[in-house]
């Protein structure tokens, strides 16, 4: 039954994403696009953290690498698609170069190295004016124009983002379900056993990190034309922490976790606007409570909730969780 339901739900979910911006203000379309973009970045980090079990604190810098690469190329007249591919390639390679030495040593060292790297990236972006525009940043990046489909308005841009998101998610689905992806999972659950079964732990972890970084680059390639302005502050360490929180809050290791986590950070402030300055405090407290009672994140919480109900009540349990968001 489950197997037959999944495609239907996929279609329903997609349909919801398609109708979501209709009749909404420009602001909402913009926010929704930004949600999907952060979900892509979080999806990448989810591979590193949720499947390979390594903390990375450099996802914002990979978004930055992608954003600057795309901005520089598109400003120089290169079309968006090759710019995006270049952005992903650069992020992937930097990820490899950064992860290779860090993963030699076990423990939290990838976290330390990525933390240092993110701050270094910020300094370089700010100081190298000739390339990055320094603290003023770069602006006026064109939005992609695919002959009949021009993304200058926010609605087409949203659909463009959605299309990229769907492709990225499908690729990620493939990666996670491939023998490769199973190796990731095996790695997280039991690294020693995985190794004894002939999995090259280090190589798999490194690949997970580099692919996750490339997803960061992809998100950057989308932010560049969405905001049409980038400056170093948007890619500082705090942003990396923000994305890490998205992944964990959504549910690290769950495929749709990042989508929820990004929603918590990007969309929830809309509902909590009446709390004014207290929003961040509420959010932070909620994260702490979540970590105490359900460290596996919102989806984990949903599962725990479901187990309390009989199968007949399954749907209601899910609905309840959704409305709690």
């Amino acid at each position: 039954m489950k197997r037959r339901l999944t495609p239907i739900l996929l279609v329903v979910g997609l349909a919801l994403l398609i109708v979501a911006p209709l009749g909404q203000t420009d602001y909402i379309k913009y926010i929704l696009s930004s949600w999907l973009i952060f979900a892509i970045a979080a999806m990448g980090l989810n591979l590193t953290l949720g499947y390979a079990g390594q903390i990375s604190l450099a996802q914002a810098s990979f978004i930055g690498i992608g954003a600057y690469t795309t901005a520089l190329l598109t400003l120089a007249g290169v079309p968006w698609i090759p710019s995006m591919l270049a952005a992903m390639a650069v992020s992937f390679l930097v990820g490899l170069a950064l992860g290779f030495p860090a993963l030699r040593v076990q423990g939290h060292f990838l976290a330390f190295v990525t933390l240092a790297f993110n701050t270094l990236f910020y300094l370089v972006a700010r100081n190298e004016d000739w390339l990055t525009g320094g603290p003023y940043g770069l602006s006026g990046m064109p939005r992609p124009d695919f002959w009949l489909f021009d993304t200058n308005q926010n609605l087409p841009f949203y659909y463009f983002t959605l299309a990229v998101f769907v492709v990225a998610a499908a690729l990620m689905w493939g990666i996670v379900r491939s023998p490769w992806g199973r190796a990731f999972k095996g790695l997280r659950e039991n690294p020693i056993r995985a190794e004894s079964l002939g999995v090259d732990t280090r190589r798999i972890t490194l690949l997970a990190f580099a692919i996750g970084s490339a997803y960061g680059g992809l998100a950057g390639a989308l932010i560049s034309p969405l905001v049409q302005f980038i400056n170093p502050d948007s890619f500082a360490l705090v942003q990396s922490i923000r994305i890490l929180l998205m992944v964990v809050v959504g549910g690290a290791g769950f495929f749709f976790g990042p989508l929820f986590g990004a929603a918590m950070v990007i969309l929830l402030p809309e509902f909590l606007r009446f709390t004014e300055g207290y929003y961040l405090m509420i959010y932070a407290s909620a994260v702490i409570v979540l970590m105490v009672f359900c460290p596996s994140g919102l989806i984990g919480a949903g599962q725990a909730l479901r187990e309390r109900f009989r199968p007949g009540h399954r749907v209601r349990g899910d609905m309840k969780q959704g409305s709690q968001l």
């Binding site: 903390i55 030495p101 860090a102 030699r104 040593v105 939290h108 060292f109 976290a111 330390f112 190295v113 933390l115 240092a116 790297f117 701050t119 270094l120 300094l123 100081n127 360490l237 705090v238 922490i241 890490l244 929180l245 964990v248 690290a252 300055g277 207290y278 961040l280 405090m281 959010y283 932070a284 407290s285 994260v287 702490i288 970590m291 105490v292 460290p295």
Partner: protein
């Protein structure tokens, strides 16, 4: 030469404050295996407790400092341990790290909401006297910063090695199971570590705030520096954290003076990456075992 001496000595003074924060960092790492991402906020906050003592409770400065220290130990030591860390221990390392990140946002935003976004002046604890040494100007504050942090390291090391409680704390850090079997009250020892960390953070706060001022966002910079100092010096050694802190204070100034001001913040980061690659256990760290 006088310029070198000037920036070197000032760097030592600032670095010794970084060291205090870094020591607390390593203590928590050893006792609870957690990276406390709120450590910077732990240094930011006690200054505000003192300001509350001065401006709201109208206490004299010395009493406000004691008040600040006690509140810091209760809130950042006891409550942090009981309310945040303890319930999370069964969940493993990652949730706790994430929780400290959230806690850092909470403390920062909370301070801003309840005390305001503006920087606040903080009274001088030491007289503003300065002396000149071969062209370099040193203040009493500079000397006291160094004296206090060296004193803390010596005192803490003696405490851990010479007292029964200290040795129990070490045993707990090295192997909680065995310590438990040997009759050590592991929970209590871990709690002590948290209290010591809070006290060190408060001390760092009192020393840095007369110059750095009290502001809700101060923890962002301080936390990062303490973090780097702890890793560079060696995560499992108290004197490692001291060396790490001093090194960063001095190198930051030397880089800014002689090499580049734009990239002054980069050197400690590069150093961190190099050290992780070359000596993952840190400059003074030992690869096996933990001291506390």
């Amino acid at each position: 030469m006088s310029q070198f001496l000037q920036v070197f000595l000032s760097g030592l003074s600032t670095g010794s404050i970084y060291a205090l924060a870094a020591i607390g960092f390593t203590l928590l790492w050893q006792a609870a295996q957690t990276v406390n991402f709120a450590q910077g906020e732990f240094v930011m906050l006690p200054a505000f407790f003192v300001l509350i003592g001065i401006h709201w409770l109208h206490l004299p400065l010395w009493l406000s400092l004691i008040f600040g220290l006690i509140v810091a130990v209760i809130v950042l030591g006891l409550l942090f341990k009981k309310v945040v860390v303890e319930p999370m221990l069964p969940n493993g390392g990652l949730p706790l790290i994430i929780a400290t990140m959230a806690l850092s946002i909470l403390l920062k935003e909370g301070t801003k909401q309840f005390y305001g976004a503006e920087a606040q002046p903080f009274p001088n604890i030491f007289p503003q006297t300065t002396m000149t040494l071969d062209g370099a100007v040193i203040s009493v504050q500079d000397i006291m910063n160094l004296v206090v942090s060296l004193g803390v390291v010596v005192g803490l090391t003696l405490f851990l090695n010479r007292t029964r409680t200290g040795r129990c704390m070490q045993a707990t850090a090295q192997n909680p199971e065995v310590a438990e079997i040997l009759g050590v009250n592991v929970k209590r020892m871990v709690l002590y570590t948290f209290l010591v960390n809070a006290a060190l953070a408060a001390l760092a706060s009192f020393l840095i705030s007369p110059i750095y001022l009290a502001k809700f966002s101060n923890g962002e910079t301080l936390g990062l520096v303490a973090f780097i100092a702890a890793i560079v010096g060696g995560f499992n050694q108290i004197r490692g954290a001291l060396v790490g802190g001093l090194l960063i204070g001095v190198l930051d100034n030397l880089t800014a003076t002689y090499v580049t001001t734009e990239y002054r913040a980069a050197l400690p980061l590069v150093m961190l990456i190099v050290i992780i690659l070359w000596r993952p256990q840190g400059l003074l760290g030992t690869s096996e075992g933990r001291q506390v």
